[in-house]
Symmetry: D2
Subunit: 421 residues, 4 copies
């Protein structure tokens, strides 16, 4: 798994760490602290937790003479690692005003300096250390995406609807929104799972064969225009389209549209990181639960793809790497209308699949703390594929498996359709 030189590691480390702080630049101190729902973590916590990861799993284990920054920070910034010890309850993250943002930034600098020194003087890395470094990078990238979705939630539920960025997507003349078309995939045995030398998560391992019957998958994401038709035709009120738990969920929570949508004087607006504005009907719909994606697919007479169907279709029809798409680096943080040369498999929105998050046939949970990374979450969650407009471009892969509970809406989630023919 040693794919880049140490020098490159140092460069990558610097880049990734810098990007995290870059994402925070538009924030006010106050924005760093709160947790308006349990799924959201305060930005300050993300800054500390990603730093703690390097300190806990690399510096404290591998750097001789390393002194930890503060004895209580492990308690404050551990997320869910039972093997590491006690930690602040998830629901209390938003009550921690100390350490302050400035202290957390100091913590970052302290650990970054130590990491750079460590990476500089070591030339004798074993495989496990390389794996940990790569994991640290990818871990921080995952939190970069969460940082964006969490701060969107923090700002988006504020009655003042603050603007985070004034960056607007540019010319979209070439967007391509003809009637939905479908791509064909033939029946047969296909390989699923990661097969290579680069970084990947344990949940992608276990290369294995699946048999797929002939199917079709749509050539772009579902748009706001199409989703508004679903709303206008009474889709949220007709139990026939809904899973029972989904229907209970939308009724209990009085959900009648995607998250961040507001009906003002009979027109639909949404809050994005550009502020409150009228909905662009050509953009892919986003911020919907699995339940809504599934109901939409049934309303239109189709279904969501399985994660296997998605992976094979993406490999066949969007094989080119590096992957092209509307990723975090563009800093739109808003899905864009499909361009004529892009099938939208990557970037824009995470695509809900009708596959549960379960282990691949040969999956083996790692024994150490890293084993808590993925395996213990393999229940009651659904797989999403393809990355979003908040995902760093080099974080995503054809085989990447994201997962959330079916009621989650604060991520950039969307819909691609499939059908047998």
């Amino acid at each position: 798994m040693i794919s880049i030189s140490l020098e490159n590691y140092l460069k990558k480390f610097n880049e990734i760490r810098r990007w995290t702080l870059h994402l925070c630049e538009p924030l006010q101190k106050e924005d760093y602290v709160v947790q308006p729902m349990v799924d959201v973590s305060p930005p300050k916590w993300h800054l500390g937790h990603t730093t703690w990861f390097f300190e806990q799993f690399i510096l404290k284990k591998y750097m001789s003479g390393y002194t930890e920054f503060h004895p209580d920070f492990s308690f404050v910034f551990n997320s869910y690692y039972e093997s590491i010890g006690e930690r602040v309850l998830r629901i209390d993250r938003g009550n921690m005003t100390r350490p302050t943002v400035d202290e957390v930034v100091k913590y970052r600098h302290y650990v970054d300096t130590a990491m750079k020194e460590f990476l500089d003087i070591n030339n004798n890395f074993d495989d496990q250390l390389f794996d940990l470094l790569n994991l640290g990078f990818n871990h921080e990238q995952q939190h970069q995406e969460l940082l964006v979705t969490d701060l969107k939630y923090i700002l988006g539920q504020n009655p003042l609807f603050p603007v985070y960025t004034s960056k607007k997507s540019g010319n979209v003349d070439d967007h391509y929104l003809e009637k939905l078309k479908f791509l064909d995939i033939d029946e047969g045995e296909y390989f699923i799972g990661y097969n290579g030398e680069d970084f990947h998560f344990d949940n992608e391992e276990g290369l294995h064969k699946v048999f797929l019957h002939k199917y079709q998958i749509s050539d772009r994401l579902i748009t706001n225009r199409e989703y508004m038709e679903f709303i206008n035709s009474g889709g949220y009120k007709d139990f026939r389209y809904w899973l029972q738990e989904g229907f209970e969920f939308i009724n209990t929570n009085k959900i009648q549209s995607p998250l961040y949508w507001h009906l003002i004087d009979d027109e639909w607006y949404y809050y994005s990181l550009q502020g409150l504005e009228k909905i662009n009907p050509d953009q892919p719909v986003t911020h919907i639960s699995f339940y809504e994606a599934d109901a939409f697919s049934k309303w239109i007479g189709m279904r969501l793809p399985t994660e296997f169907e998605w992976e094979i279709a993406a490999r066949i029809y969007s094989p080119k790497v590096p992957l092209d798409g509307n990723f975090a680096e563009k800093e739109f943080f808003l899905p864009q209308p499909r361009k004529i040369n892009n099938l939208q498999f990557f970037g824009d929105v995470w695509e809900w699949t009708n596959s549960s998050y379960l282990p691949y046939p040969f999956y083996k949970k790692p024994d150490d703390a890293v084993g808590e990374y993925n395996g213990k979450f393999m229940i009651n969650q659904m797989i999403l594929r393809g990355g979003s407009c908040a995902t760093p471009a080099n974080h995503i892969r054809h085989t990447y498996r994201n997962f959330f509970h079916p009621d989650k809406r604060w991520q950039f989630t969307g819909i691609r359709l499939a059908q047998h023919i």
Copy 2:
């Protein structure tokens, strides 16, 4: 799907309806009424609901001149059919003291008489009616099983531990409990799903191919003895064996053993329908959640089979029909030690698989009220296979898919292990 003559239908109708009442014979009036947890329905409600099913879907639609027994009973005995209209909230079933048991039994007689008349004078059944009749039979059989598990829960949480039956399993000299052995299944493409002319549920349809890698599956169920080793070795306290939500579940609910187990003077007892008694270590362990089954499998270094692995193994190693096993007709209502000539694929306990309840590739939800039978529950539940000691023998099939949320414990649920080699 017309496999038996009308005369046989009448016979079958009588038999099934009689068995439901037979199961209630040991009950006191008081036992019929309560609902000690939301999953449990009062026995009285089962008697009424299964009757309502025939009245609502057959008599009111197909028998000319039929007058319904009572105008409010549809409100009282509808379970979850949105298409039929308003209904008593599930959580309020246990508050309905009226209609009384005697009135519900009258309701059964009224509907039975009408059904017999209807089956007698009709000789011109169309396919849809046959399907509905079969569905009514199988629906009632499902409620017979629920009746047993629900009344076990009602009596089992009573401090007086009432005895329901004195019927004890007979001679078990031939039981076979050598060290767990494994059956081999070769890699390849296999067909999954129902393929035939007899009754089956819509969720078994969509005959399709899956690819299975070479695997092994155990030749019997896990016993109480083996499960006690798991308990004694601290299995319930070690987070490494547990899914995160499972570990939260057992800790929040202070679960340290299967449901109905009691530690009295340092010895394990359980409540069964024979009363409170010492645990027989040779019997299959039962009344455990998916979380516990999964944790046990990880503790022992293996895993649960997928539903596909289970179905193929059962077809290959227990192909004989009619199926042999410890079913409801034996009236033990308690899993029995494995006999030398039986692999326990059928009867005894429902076997948790590590497959989520999802639609098969070509699944299509029926359009009418019957469409609410299965399809709308395909989220957040796990598949169980093989039937239990409370399942009627002719209700189960190789392809039968049962499903419950992973935290449910009041059904007769148990463990079979699998592994890749």
Copy 3:
């Protein structure tokens, strides 16, 4: 406190015990078991608990050679006496199908027989035993009232609205419902609390003086007609009349009328033990929370009396004993229009006062288990006075203090107004 002879005690014991069973005569077995909300106890539980009281506090302590009926019944039928030991959780009372009604009735006979024998052979009672006997009688009378309100709740939330009694109140020609008039009470020092030799509860003790300013109190209870004006004028929607917690309570629970009221085709009906029928506008309004009583009083520009104002007014204007009123013995179980010669201070409905349930100046909590009877509830509850149509006539007194939380509605509760002038 020895006010009646032993022979009379035996007679009184028989009468009271018989009346409890008499109240249950219209019930079906099923009605005895359920607990549709936590405040309600199953009728079966009342039968057992009142019996347990005599067994626990008298027979087991005072009758030599007494053998308790069943070793587990103390666990099942203890209500809240911490000093007696473990008990079934209050919320689980409605899940106990065993002991059956027949067994509980047997338990009653067993204890009654022992009590009669005990009362027959003893001629040497000390004061404490007399106190306990009297407490047992009054305890059973309290449960007789709860039995009526609880079975009303059980039947009243059933969609079939069962009829409990066909007894209708007779001729009401002489009812007296002129415009509300007021009784004057002069300013001065008054004695409050029990002062005599007969039975009373510890919470009435502590005879003490209070100073009352000149006030007026209404000469009858508020009627359904007057309450409907409050509803029709938007009283439930105008926050200005409500205590904040009251306004939250009615909004959270979507309360827009008294309990048991139903608006059917724009006409108000209520459920009473006579079944579902149109509301009689001349009857006193009942089944309202303190919050509603208080809001009504503010809407009309007055207030509720304090418990002291009530006690003094009742003593002055309704001094005659035995008390006259619509009590349980009439078996209407429904408040009746005011008769021309009756100010309704006693019977009909419990009258909410604007006094919290607090100890009188010289109150001392008894040391033994009986000390748990009243003292430990003196927080967060409001005082009600005067008894209701479900109270036994000889159970009530001028000084009797009943108490419930301000959100309770299932008792026969109502409104009398007061004002300073």
Copy 4:
């Protein structure tokens, strides 16, 4: 009620507004934002809400040409005034990161400037305006106290235990802690309630007579030393001392000591605004619920005084004004050992009484929004008297009635004992 000149009003306005900001000086930006429990408001919200009060009730109504600072701030900073309109839900206050602290401070300056201009140019105040000004001052003082208790809670539940002030109480040589002594008060009629020309709240009005029986009240507050004896003797575990709801409260919440107490290596520490340190046994115990105060009083064989007993005793034994005591201006924010010349009726801690918060006989709720200030809270709360170490000295009076629910612990609450003799 015109007791000070306009010039003095301006001076007082400046002083009070300045003190609020002074209290915030030790805070970091992050500390201003969070709401770790529903009773606590973020410091930022206190700054805005007190400002909104002047803007809403004075400037917008009385200052011609006044332009409000921001159209959304009324929505953000209204607390509970239904008559003013919609507002941020109380539970969401801690999720509002915007407006930022800097913007709120700007808002304060803007309103302060307008208020000063307004007070400067007006010389024609009517009574109502004087009343509103006085209410605004007292309202802000109440929030100054809440600011201190809320920020103590915010910092006190942080695992880093931040220090807010290094100010330590000075020489306490003269403290006076002999065995508890008692003051006698004779039986008789006494006047209760406010009677004068200065500012007071509506809930103190209704001067009226009460009759008090002869009683004794302790000459100082209960100390930490005495409270530790209660803890050590098992007071928290013995149900006999507790109101039932209190016993449930401490058991459900696992409460075994006052809030902010920590048992570290078998020694008691507490968190105060000076940081974490060993408990001073001579200080009055504080941060206890009514339930704990009541249980302590029963454990020691006495009781809490009523609010009437407290008021009369304070008037008789501590009549001198201006009141002397450990108030907010000392900036200890920590109750101090009793000094030889001080009975501790005022300052140090709010003293729980055994009186419910109910209206005085002639109480009349004001008609306008100010009417929502007190009257609508008169249910389920207990009266506290005397002010605390966080109360501004000139805010408190002999007749001042504070009120909290009996389970509240985050205020500076404590114990004084009473008894009849």
